[in-house]
């Protein structure tokens, strides 16, 4: 029984677990719970005194406290259920009564018990600030109920939760403005992009006094300059794709071709990639039946094997 308090408080609540062991309890919520519990202990103690006990073990008191707390909690919880069951939010006396009955308590005995003589008056628990529940963010003016809604019904929620706000303006359909916008947008994007590129990379300048004035992205030689200059850019390819997709397919087909290795027969030579699939015949005999008979498409012959080696 080294530390019964901690055991008892363990079942109380999650927050209680922490408070039980530590001396310094800082959180106001914990203080609140502790205060309540202390009051309950006082109640238990006074009831015991009333019943004629002169002293009690601390552990016993704790157990009893726990029991009473559980009981009261259960009463509250059930009462709330009953009240909500009848579509109300605040429990009434009858809810509590029904609850008590349900829990097997003889309610009729209660008034007599309350009026007994040897009753001890217990001081109210010290007033502690109940934990501050952060207020829900209220946006805008809450609407008041219109006359046909009874006032007891809950208030309207915040307007933002149900009011529709239009998020776009009427689309501009004027051709001139559209073109104007498209043009300036593109120009802005281009300018921003090129400025960015110029800022992040090497630049050349037209002026000696102010090298930042008209920055030019530095010219960089490439190893195969004709590729960039001749092949359509990706942007252009997109439009090309729209018009003619078949050509694109061909392109990808043939791009793979040169990567074939030539050491074995399967990849005998890349020219075969143009051949219809049936056309590739093992390199020994050239196929005459192929649709296109072009010497560059014929497979490469193997050298004649010489006996010497």
């Amino acid at each position: 029984m080294a530390d019964p308090a901690s055991v008892g408080s363990g079942s109380l609540s999650a927050s209680g677990t922490r408070s039980g062991s530590g001396k310094t309890t800082t959180s106001p919520a914990e203080n609140y719970y502790l205060a309540r519990r202390r009051t309950l202990q006082v109640v238990v103690s006074s009831l015991l005194t009333e019943c004629g006990f002169e002293s009690a073990e601390k552990a016993a008191v704790e157990s009893l406290t726990e029991m009473i707390q559980s009981y009261i909690s259960e009463v509250g919880r059930s009462a709330k259920s009953y009240c909500e069951h009848t579509a109300r939010s605040t429990p009434t006396l009858s809810d509590v009564v029904v609850t008590l009955i349900e829990m097997g308590f003889n309610v009729d005995t209660l008034p007599t018990y309350a009026k007994r003589s040897q009753r001890m008056v217990i001081t109210a628990p010290p007033v502690t600030n109940s934990p501050v529940v952060p207020k829900a963010l209220a946006a805008g003016q809450k609407r008041v109920h219109p006359p046909y809604i009874p006032s007891h019904l809950p208030d309207f929620p915040d307007p933002h939760t149900y009011i529709k706000t239009p998020t776009f303006r009427e689309p501009v359909s004027d051709y001139q403005v559209l073109r104007e916008k498209a043009a300036s947008q593109r120009r802005d994007v281009e300018r921003a992009l090129t400025r960015f590129m110029a800022k992040t990379g090497e630049t050349q300048s037209l002026f000696k006094d102010d090298i930042t004035a008209f920055p030019l992205i530095a010219a960089r030689p490439s190893s195969i300059p004709y590729l960039n200059a001749l092949l359509p850019s990706e942007l252009e390819l997109q439009t090309l794709e729209e018009t003619d997709s078949s050509e694109q397919d061909d392109q990808t087909d043939n791009e793979n071709a040169p990567s074939n290795t030539v050491t074995d027969e399967a990849g005998a030579d890349k020219e075969n990639s143009v051949l219809p699939p049936g056309g590739v015949v093992p390199a020994v005999k050239p196929s005459e039946e192929t649709v296109i008979d072009n010497p560059y498409l014929r497979p490469v012959k193997k050298p004649k094997v010489r006996r010497k080696k």
Binding site: L206, P215, A229, P232, S233, I292
Partner: protein, 1202 residues
């Protein structure tokens, strides 16, 4: 006169080539080297064939065998260094004649060659039987500077992944640069070609690919080609690379090759070729002569199109996708050109250089027919006019292009073109521009012949030539048949007269045998009383480049009652011609006016002269004379001509005439043409520029918006918002071209302050701003590029107080806007490059213009960075053009030096050529002007460049000569110190005296004669026949020429005596005296001097020959491997020279001694052998050479002792 020998072809060689094998075993891309052998099968045509001359340049020859017997050979190329090293003479006349002589000395057309092989005596003793000789030559090429071009991109991966490729190139007959051959268009033979290349590569060459076989290690494969049609060596080519292969979908025997990744472009570009094939086969009624055709697209091409037997090599930059408009016609024209040359040029070859015009003419002519069929009559006539204008302008400027030079006896003095600074005797001495104009004139003359004999006959002639040739080609070797495949001027003319029965002699005499064009001045008066048109046609035939024309001329007169043709006779003294008019003036106003083409139109006749029925007059409307016409008629007549004449040529003439009449009526006529949709688009484009000029002249009275603005708005801008251009849709090409051109022309408008009107500038800026290509099927890169050009055109000189520095702050606000746009465009191009980088090109031009007009500081560094190797070639050329311009404007010697360095070192031959030709067109200074740039060092540098630095590229050498001519003229450059006059004068006298002495000696024992000569006049002419020439090179060292008697020759040279350079007259003498064996003269000279010029030696860059040779001054031009491999530090060359003069002294005696002893080769002294032993040790391959008699004799040095 070639035309006189009608008998057929007479070979200048004592043998006939029948078959040649070319086998290239190894191509190393890393080292850029090639190893192989050739085997020529020849039939001697003389009894004792003891030496064989072949063409070969820069090849390193390892061994020569004739019928399996080692044969000695001499390799000697006088064109390596044209004028010898010490020569202080720097005048171009001297160079030109020396160069012509050098080229002539090795000219295969004259039976000469660089490589002279001595047939082993065993063989020529039994020569009576005329046995077949097989000449086997092993050779290699190391980093060739000409002939073969390696493109090896510097990136990761193996050669195939890097897109490395190699291809042959050259100007005219240049095959000798990459294998030994008879490099003449007139020596035909059949071919067997074998190329072993990496398995990832494809070797494309002439003829049929018989088979492809792997080598034993399976890492390489050998391509076997056979060309059964007799073909001249210059028409043989090769391209090796990791090409993508496309079999033409329409013609399976046609195969196309392009570099990796470009296949889609190739597919599109080639989708059209079969139509060209069909066209030519149809008009020529002759099948394509070869059994297959191959097109290869390569990078860094020498020229855009080059045709070889059954294959053509194109620049890869001709490839384009379906989105590109502007490149399409250009590329198709190139394809058509290549194909026309397949028939005439490759299949039918020329007999001699003076017959070149026939082949160029015919191929150009049928190409023109193709243009007419494909692009329409308008385009064709426009093209003819353009070509005619070009040739007229060129001839008037430079003084005449001669198509068929007749070299009677080859005397230099009878130079048919004294106005030129180069000789037209050989193709390799021509300036490139001249050659282009030559081709242009050739096809124009063919057209004149067509006019004379009708197209039908013309095509019959071609057909006849082709059928004769095909019959001949299918024959087995029969010397007389094969010559049918050679075309000569006389043969061609004979065919014409046979087929048509017409005599075109006068026409040929006028345009082919004579140079020059005709210049007419016309004016007229209308005689109302007689109702006669009095036409006066005068000629200018005295100024340079003109000739007198006598004969018929057609004049077309458009009258009120119709159009009438008159043929007038131009005679000696008649200037005036009376032409009766058909109509009375102004009878019936309402009547429609019939035009030439039968059309009848309503005209507003209010503008015309009430007394005259003449609407307009045209002289020679069909361009049937090569002429320039300056005709005077009233402005309203030009306007009528522009509006109502349906011939595009007439319209274009009217437009250029109207420039001189800035009136509202002209403006109206031009505007009407611009709006007329039926009008040919090129006429409309021209009208734009004319309108801009007129508007500028009418500035003060101009009303309304700037010219063309409202027109452009109406045609291309949105209806609802006229300041915004429609989104691009280029589906109608005519309006596309107009849309491109109009802003460019508008930007030329100027206001009273001579500035581009603000309105116009804003208009162009708006076009750029609102340009939207998203919905367009075509790329707008050319359009955008032209908008930048428009911005460039709008620039005017900055108003600047004194020479203050251009800074950002004092930038004009308009210029700031322009600069913004240019900057943005140029930067965007880095992220999204346009086709052929057209936008970068335009931007660079714009920036240069901004610099030139003083808006931004003039600075070449930007252009220099864009000019670096590794940018797209168009960009490089544009950047270089800017640097060239900067060099001229700022007189910067630094930039000039930079450019000249690039000429020497740039990997791309085209760029080198382009730099020199741009420098020639926009020279930093000229012979007429003084400049600080003009100094002795520059003269020397350029001299060296053309003398020896460009020996590997004929075209480049001629470019260098041109540039030199532009800068310094024909005579001594003014910046040089005065020459020693005495010596120059001596020259001619000497020659007169000396020549008779020389002649008798020329054949054999040259030693004595030369000795005498030297003693006589300080002339060291090394005359020699073949065997003795081995020693001749020592002769010049012997007699000290200028009286400094016993001083050794070598010392004298180094000492640079103020007396100038006595050896020079020798060359002069030698060249002028035709009877001297030219080649040997040059041989020896080259031997003597070339060693001082080691850096220019093509086959062994960076290596110096061993000291021994320097001492002896007798190194053959093409190195024997044993010598080359001798390690020697090249940097010490100068030092060694000095060092060895002493040796000279010692050895001299010895040499002299030897000469007197009849030059026995067999008496090689032991020292020499020892020497060679040493070399053998160093060179593991050497045994083959050292032990062979070939090496012994070809060393050519009687003594190697040191």
């Amino acid at each position: 006169m070639n035309r006189k020998k009608d008998k057929g072809f007479e070979s200048p060689r004592p043998y006939k080539l029948t078959h040649q094998v070319v086998c290239i075993n190894n191509i190393n891309f890393q080292r850029k080297s090639v190893i192989g052998y050739v085997e020529l099968t020849i039939f001697p045509t003389v009894v004792n064939l003891n030496r064989i001359k072949l063409s070969s340049k820069q090849c390193r020859i390892y061994r020569v065998r004739v019928n399996d017997l080692e044969a000695p050979f001499i390799y000697n190329d006088p064109t390596l260094e044209v004028c010898h090293h010490e020569s202080k003479q720097r005048n171009l006349n001297y160079f030109s004649s020396a160069y012509t002589a050098a080229v002539g000395a090795v000219d295969p057309d004259a039976g000469n060659g660089e490589l002279c092989i001595k047939v082993p005596s065993e063989l020529w003793k039994q020569g009576d039987e005329m046995k077949v000789l097989k000449v086997y030559i092993e050779f290699s090429l190391d980093q060739p500077k000409g002939g073969l071009h390696f493109v090896v991109p510097d990136i990761e991966g193996n050669m195939a992944e890097r897109g490395a490729h190699v291809f042959s190139f050259g100007y005219q007959n240049s095959t000798r640069f990459w294998f030994p051959c008879v490099d003449s268009y007139s020596e035909l033979c059949t071919w067997k070609l074998e190329f072993t290349v990496d398995a990832s590569m494809v070797a494309v060459s002439c003829g049929d690919l018989v088979e492809t076989v792997y080598t034993h290690d399976m890492r390489k494969k050998t391509f076997h080609y056979v060309l059964p049609i007799p073909t001249a060596a210059p028409n043989i080519s090769l391209a090796v690379g990791p090409f993508e292969i496309l079999v033409d979908p329409y013609m399976h025997e046609v195969t196309h090759f392009c570099l990796p990744q470009l296949l889609p472009l190739l597919k599109h570009t080639m989708s059209y070729l079969h139509e060209i094939f069909e066209f030519y086969e149809e008009i020529l009624t002759c099948r394509y002569p070869y059994s297959c055709f191959k097109t290869v697209f390569v990078d860094e091409a020498y020229v855009q199109v080059s045709s070889y037997a059954s294959m053509s090599i194109f620049s890869t930059n001709l490839l384009h996708s379906a989105m590109i408009i502007d490149q399409t016609p250009v590329t198709r024209r190139c394809l058509a050109q290549a194909l026309s040359q397949q028939f005439f040029g490759c299949f039918i070859s020329r007999m001699s250089w003076s017959d070149e015009w026939v082949l160029k003419g015919i191929s150009g002519y049928i190409y023109g027919l193709y243009l007419k069929k494909t692009f329409g009559v308008n385009e064709y006539r426009h093209w003819i006019k353009e070509e005619l204008d070009k040739i007229v302008e060129y001839e008037l400027k430079t003084g005449g292009v001669l198509l068929h030079p007749a070299f009677c006896g080859g005397k230099e003095k009878d130079n048919p073109t004294p106005h030129l600074h180069f000789s037209i005797k050989h193709p390799h001495t021509l300036s490139w521009e001249y050659y282009k104009m030559f081709q242009c004139k050739a096809h124009l003359v063919m057209r004149l012949i067509e006019n004379r004999i009708s197209m039908e006959f013309m095509l019959q002639v071609f057909n006849k030539l082709l059928s004769l040739a095909s019959t001949a080609s299918s024959q087995k070797y029969q010397s007389h048949m094969w010559s049918q495949m050679l075309l000569s001027t006389s043969g061609f003319l004979k065919s014409i007269s046979n087929v048509s029965g017409k005599d075109i002699g006068p026409l040929i005499k006028q345009w082919v045998d004579q140079s020059g064009v005709v210049k007419f001045f016309g004016s007229f008066a209308f005689n109302r009383k007689r109702n006669v048109l009095e036409l006066e046609i005068r000629q200018d035939y005295t100024s340079s480049g003109t000739q007198k024309y006598v004969g018929p001329i057609k004049v077309t007169v458009q009258e009120l009652d119709g159009s009438f043709n008159h043929t007038l006779q131009i005679e000696e003294n008649s200037l005036k011609h009376d032409i009766p008019c058909h109509s009375k003036s102004r009878r019936n106003k309402k009547k429609k006016i019939p035009l030439m083409n039968g059309e009848e139109v309503d005209m507003d006749l209010s503008a015309m002269d009430a007394d005259s029925p003449l609407l307009w007059i045209r002289i020679d409307p069909d361009m049937s004379i090569l002429r320039k016409v300056e005709f005077e008629q009233a402005d309203f007549m030009w306007q009528y001509q522009l509006r109502y004449e349906r011939d595009v040529v007439a319209q274009e003439e009217a437009i250029s005439a109207l420039e001189k009449f800035p009136t509202p009526a002209s403006r109206l006529a031009l505007t009407d043409i611009l709006e007329q949709e039926q009008c040919f688009y090129k006429v409309r484009m021209q009208a734009c520029f004319c309108l801009a000029k007129i508007a500028n002249s009418m500035m003060s009275t101009w009303t309304g918006p700037p010219a063309m603005k409202s027109l452009f708005t109406r045609m291309f801008c949105c209806k609802s918002c006229p300041n915004i251009v429609k989104t691009n849709n280029f589906i109608n090409f005519q309006s596309y071209f107009l849309q491109k051109t109009m802003p460019v022309a508008m930007a030329l408008l100027r206001d009273m302050q001579n500035l581009c009107p603000k309105e116009v500038l804003n208009f162009i800026l708006d076009l750029i701003k609102y340009n939207d290509n998203r919905k367009n099927k075509f790329s707008d890169n050319y359009y955008r590029a032209e908008l930048i050009d428009a911005l460039t055109n709008s620039l005017t000189p900055a108003i600047n107080i004194s020479n203050e520095v251009r800074t950002v702050d004092n930038l004009n606000s308009d210029v700031r806007l322009i600069l913004e746009e240019i900057t943005r465009f140029l930067n965007m191009e880095k992220l999204l490059p346009s086709y052929r980088n057209t936008i970068t090109v335009s931007c660079l031009r714009a920036i240069r213009m901004l610099q030139k007009n003083g808006h931004i500081p003039s600075d070449p560094s930007l252009f220099k960075s864009y000019a670096q190797y590794g940018h797209f070639v168009d960009v490089r050329v544009a950047a270089l053009e800017a640097v060239v311009d900067y060099t001229r404007v700022d007189r910067s010697s630094e930039e000039l030096q930079w450019l000249l360095d690039m000429v020497q070192n740039d990997p791309s031959h085209y760029v080198r050529h382009k730099i020199l030709s741009m420098l020639g067109k926009n020279p930093p200074f000229t012979k007429a002007s003084e400049s600080s740039l003009c100094n002795e060092a520059l003269v020397d540098q350029l001299w060296k460049l053309m003398n020896s630095g460009t020996s590997h590229d004929w075209r480049l050498r001629c470019d260098a000569v041109n540039f030199y001519y532009t800068l310094f003229g024909l005579t001594r450059p003014s910046c040089l110190p005065l020459p020693e006059l005495g010596l120059v004068l001596n020259l001619k006298e000497k020659k007169a005296v000396l020549n008779p002495t020389i002649k008798p000696e020329a054949g054999g024992i040259g030693g004595v004669g030369a000795l005498d000569l030297c003693a006589n006049g300080g002339i060291h002419t090394p005359i020699s026949g073949f065997p003795s020439s081995l020693e001749e090179e020592h002769l010049p060292m012997e007699p000290p020429p200028n009286g400094v008697a016993p001083a050794p020759h070598g010392l004298k040279r180094k000492a640079e005596t103020p007396l100038g350079s006595p050896p020079e007259p020798v060359q002069f003498t030698a060249q002028e005296e035709e009877d001297i064996d030219m080649d040997t003269v040059h041989d020896s000279q080259a031997f003597i001097y070339h060693h001082l010029n080691m850096l220019e030696r093509p086959s062994t860059p960076g290596k110096e020959p061993p000291l021994v040779e320097q001492t002896l001054l007798s190194m053959p031009a093409t190195p024997l491997p044993a010598f080359i491999k001798e390690p020697s530090a090249s940097k010490h060359g100068e030092h060694h020279h000095r060092h060895h003069h002493h040796d000279h002294k010692k050895k001299k005696k010895k040499h002299k001694h030897k000469h007197k002893h009849k030059h026995k080769h067999e008496s090689k002294d032991k020292d020499k052998d020892k020497d060679r032993e040493r070399e053998r040790d160093r060179d593991r391959d050497a045994h083959a050479f050292t032990s062979s008699p070939a090496s012994g004799r070809s060393l050519r040095s009687p003594s190697l002792s040191d």
